[in-house]
């Protein structure tokens, strides 16, 4: 062998926790998350080379069918979309990948499916194509997503590493400004 091997680019991992979102145009960034009944929307503009991920859970008992759930969910989707657009993305070029919405506990309501239903309906209504998805079913998922290339990797989690999600307590706005 002559000389040193070409240096591997340094991968920068960013964990996206529940209620968070992250947008990047850095090809070395990989977004990671672990999903139970939560859903992660991975969104990117392939032409602009920018993308991001969110990680959300609709409030309990307020699945896709209810008013509060739709309002909260639509807000969480919008903050990710807006940040991708601010970073140079174009709405008409956006493409989505969806993960999560697993059935984690034996309960009467399937929270995961409600989250998956909401995300699919939202993207269909907004005309954003879903290029791949892994939704519902039993168990958790560990996701890696490269927001610039759009590559995604999923591993099924069976080791009990998934904690029960924190249910959002106040889905509506707080922190009004005193201007009126």
């Amino acid at each position: 062998m002559i000389g040193a091997a070409a240096q591997e680019p340094v991968e920068r991992r960013v964990h996206v926790g529940q209620g968070d979102h992250f947008v990047s145009s850095d090809p070395d960034v990989v977004l990671t998350t672990v999903l139970g009944s939560c859903v992660a929307l991975c969104l990117r503009d392939p032409a602009a080379g920018v993308g991001g991920m969110n990680h959300f859970l609709l409030p309990e008992g307020s699945g896709s069918g209810t008013d509060v759930g739709r309002r909260y969910g639509a807000y969480l989707m919008e903050v990710l979309i807006n940040d991708v657009l601010k970073a140079g993305g174009r709405r008409e070029r956006l493409e989505a990948k969806l993960f999560g919405g697993g059935r984690m506990f034996d309960s009467l309501s399937d929270v995961g499916a409600a989250n998956a239903d909401f995300a699919e309906k939202f993207l269909a209504d907004e005309g954003i194509p879903v290029v791949s998805r892994s939704l519902r079913g039993a168990g958790g998922r560990r996701i890696h997503y490269w927001p610039v290339s759009g590559r995604a990797r999923q591993r099924v989690v069976t080791d009990g590493a998934i904690l029960p999600p924190a249910i959002p307590s106040s889905p509506v706005a707080t922190g009004d400004l005193e201007l009126f």
Partner: protein
């Protein structure tokens, strides 16, 4: 005391889901005459063709954003008296203050309830019947 059904409204947001949520809330409040536009430019075209009493508009939109739409409305005498309520995200304090400078009538932080929207409408128009 204005009647809710008599207030003609234009809802401006680039997300169809958000427009339909705002429309559903307005209908619950009793409003009937509701138009929609997907961005500021389309909103302005619609307003010039058919003025309304109230514009409820998002900020982050392609083509013409909410702040530019507000400025255009205030600068155009036939439209300048149109009531304007803006929709904003939680972190947009600076934006709210700029909108106040440009003559916004009120604002609403997403995500909001129908009751919160009604409260803002009544702050602008007085109690609605």
């Amino acid at each position: 005391m204005p009647a809710a059904f008599a207030i003609r409204t234009l809802v401006v947001d680039d997300q169809l889901t958000m427009r339909s949520l705002v429309r559903a809330s307005l209908q619950q409040i009793g409003m009937r005459d509701i138009e929609e536009a997907p961005d500021g430019e389309a909103a302005l075209r619609s307003l010039l063709a058919q003025p309304v009493h109230l514009v409820i508009s998002d900020f982050n939109m392609p083509n013409l954003d909410g702040l530019s739409l507000l400025r255009a409305i205030r600068a155009h005498p036939p439209l300048s008296k149109t009531a304007f309520i803006m929709l904003t995200g939680r972190a947009d304090r600076e934006l709210v203050q700029r909108a106040v400078q440009f003559g916004v009538n009120n604002y609403l932080v997403k995500p909001f309830t129908t009751a919160q929207l009604k409260e803002k409408l009544e702050a602008v128009f007085g109690p609605l019947t």
